[in-house]
Amino acid sequence: MVTATFLLSAFSLILVGIFGMLTRKNIIRILLAVNILETGVNLLLVSFGYFRGGKAPIITAPISASNLPFVDPLPQALVLTSIVIGLGTTALALAITLRYYRRRRTLEFEPDEEDFASVEGARTLMRDSDDSTSVTEGKDLHPGSNVPSDREPAGAKERAK
């Protein structure tokens, strides 16, 4: 019964995580949902390794084939790795989000593809810094001007039609 509860709670965390990822618009909330999904999967893995009445797999007393009162150590090893991978991915995603915000001035994720397409495409490559690390070592692209790029080359939009 206990294992079933672990499994069910882990599985419902996964479902809530997936639901959050599919429906939220704010990027930080989507990343929170990704972490909830990840916590759910980690719990699911650990509960796959759980045996009722088992002890932590640390050898403090003599054990033999007949007397192995342990839970399974392997899923714990997998989850150990998965947690740290989750941290790495979240840190990277948030760094990208900061850069996204620096440019788009919003945390809402659904960029209006078409509108941006005409601007992005029409802009000549020379003006646009193809790789921000080369132009300004991480500095703000247009120092001082806080004008989001969408409004800037209005002329380009007409020419692109």
Partner: protein
Amino acid sequence: MEIWVVVLGVLMVVGAIAVLFQRSLRNSIITFGIISLMSALIMAMMKAYDVAITEASIGAVLTTAIFFWSLKRVEEDGYDEKK
């Protein structure tokens, strides 16, 4: 021990739903931190102490901290939830 497992499980799922539907971003991050700690507790209940320590120190503390720092930097850069 059964009761605690069921209570924690239900609390975590309710917390996870709360993270998605809370209005303020700051509250969602705090709720997420609490969920991570609860998941570390549940892992300890499953006798997975290695994973519980790792989940607590990395999953709960550092992930929540990084979320807060990003939120802080975005707010300094002019982000305002009310807008």
